[in-house]
């Protein structure tokens, strides 16, 4: 052996750089990384017996639209967050939710293709994109909590706490769904939203116990978003029907658990539960029925404008 040999860089052990390992394995389709898991790998995609496929599609749209709209709001923080690190943290959360939305929109389209908007013949736009970009606000089924403007960072944190605590509780139950796709999406989402809730809870506490200014902003943000909190636990017909057939979750059933969780954060933070009235719907109808605030129209206009200008575009 050559006494004066220097190591050949191509034979350095993997741990010289944690990124080295990313170049190993079958990663031909990825710019970075390997060992990515397809959350639906091996999952039975047939709709279980005794399930109304249209109601299942509507239910999937509800869960998908919550994630899609919330994801878009969070993505508006890109380059605008208080700190580079928070910028990336919020973008990560937005991307987790976007991933959930894609799977759920695709599931809605598979369960009942009639919910997908018609596009010109030959359009290469996949069903999940058609649902995201070619429906009008009245066809969106998200709760109104997610469509409200971001406000400042404190209000965004307050909303994220309410949203992630609620959605985590829903998905923990949805993991037992008879629909194997919904179950797989929920199992994936529980891990993601456990982190989202932790992130929001820590920031909530930090802002509440921080400076007078951070506390003032947090309390104001929570009060501003609180009128949309009650809607999270109002059961829509599609939620009831899918829950009864064992594929969905009735949101009313998670109200107590969410309440306990929130109370823990509020009491640690020394913040009182806001005493403000719920935002009324239109003749009792709210986001789940497709009746939204003006904020959603503006959000969709921005989110959809490019896709709608090119209905046969390939991306």
């Amino acid at each position: 052996m050559d006494m004066n040999h220097t190591p050949d860089p191509s034979h350095l052990p993997d741990d010289d750089s944690v990124y080295e390992g990313l170049l190993v394995g079958d990663d031909s389709q990825w710019a970075f990384g390997t060992d990515f898991e397809d959350p639906l790998a091996g999952v039975d995609t047939t709709v279980p017996d005794g399930v109304d496929t249209h109601q299942l599609a509507v239910y999937c749209l509800m869960l998908a639209d919550d994630a899609l709209v919330m994801s878009h709001r969070l993505s508006e923080w890109c380059s605008n967050a208080p700190d580079l690190e928070e910028d990336i943290a919020l973008a990560n959360i937005a991307l987790d939710l976007l991933g959930q939305a894609r799977l759920l929109l695709a599931r809605a389209a598979a369960a009942d293709p009639s919910v997908v908007p018609a596009l010109p013949d030959g359009s290469p736009v996949p069903p999940e994109d058609a649902l995201a970009f070619f429906r009008d606000d009245r066809e969106f089924r998200n709760v109104r909590l997610v469509e409200a403007d971001n406000g400042d960072f404190a209000m965004t944190i307050a909303r994220l706490l309410l949203f992630s605590t609620w959605r985590l509780a829903l998905f923990q139950r949805l993991a037992a769904s008879r629909d194997h796709v919904l179950s797989a999406v929920a199992v994936k989402g529980v891990k993601e939203m456990t982190y989202h809730r932790d992130y929001a809870g820590r920031w909530f506490l930090t802002l509440a116990r921080g400076t007078d200014e951070s506390r003032r902003r947090l309390v104001a943000g929570l009060e501003a978003i609180w009128p949309l909190h009650g809607e999270l636990f109002t059961t829509h017909a599609a939620e009831l029907v899918t829950a009864e057939s064992g594929v969905g979750v009735d949101p009313a059933t998670v109200a107590d658990e969410v309440d306990v969780r929130l109370e823990q954060v509020f009491s640690m933070s020394g913040v009182d539960r806001p005493d403000v009235a719920p935002l009324a719907g239109v003749r009792g109808k709210t986001g789940r029925c497709g009746l939204h605030t003006e904020a959603l129209s503006r959000l969709l206009a921005e989110m959809q404008v490019v896709a709608r200008a090119h209905p046969t575009g390939s991306w």
């Binding site: 390992g21 990384g33 990515f36 580079l84 690190e85 943290a89 932790d198 400076t211």
Partner: protein, 98 residues
């Protein structure tokens, strides 16, 4: 709130152990208000492409570093001690990570 509020968060150095890695390796630095937030920021900033399974963070001002001025007295003497390298015997094929 009795302590002086600092305008800037302290700097932390981040070490990540990759899936196939044996050691935590320095990957960069970031700002955070406290140690716990630093771990979470590190998760968000440095492991978002599936890079890591473990994170260490340490405040940059807690690290004592050698000075560039000391480069020669510290490191030059080892430059000609070829007998310190394990290159005088064959490594068996079943000894990993050498």
């Amino acid at each position: 709130m009795t302590e002086q509020i600092q305008g800037d968060w302290p700097l932390y150095e981040v070490f990540v152990r990759g899936k196939r890695g044996l050691n935590h390796v320095h990957v960069g630095s970031l700002h955070a208000a406290d140690d716990e937030m630093a771990v979470r920021h590190a998760r968000d900033v440095y492991t978002r492409r599936n890079e890591g399974v473990s994170i260490w963070v340490v405040r940059s001002d807690a690290i004592t570093a050698s000075s560039p001025d000391e480069k020669d007295p510290l490191f030059a003497p080892s430059g000609d001690k070829v007998y310190r390298h394990p290159t005088f015997y064959d490594i068996p094929d079943n000894v990993p990570h050498m």
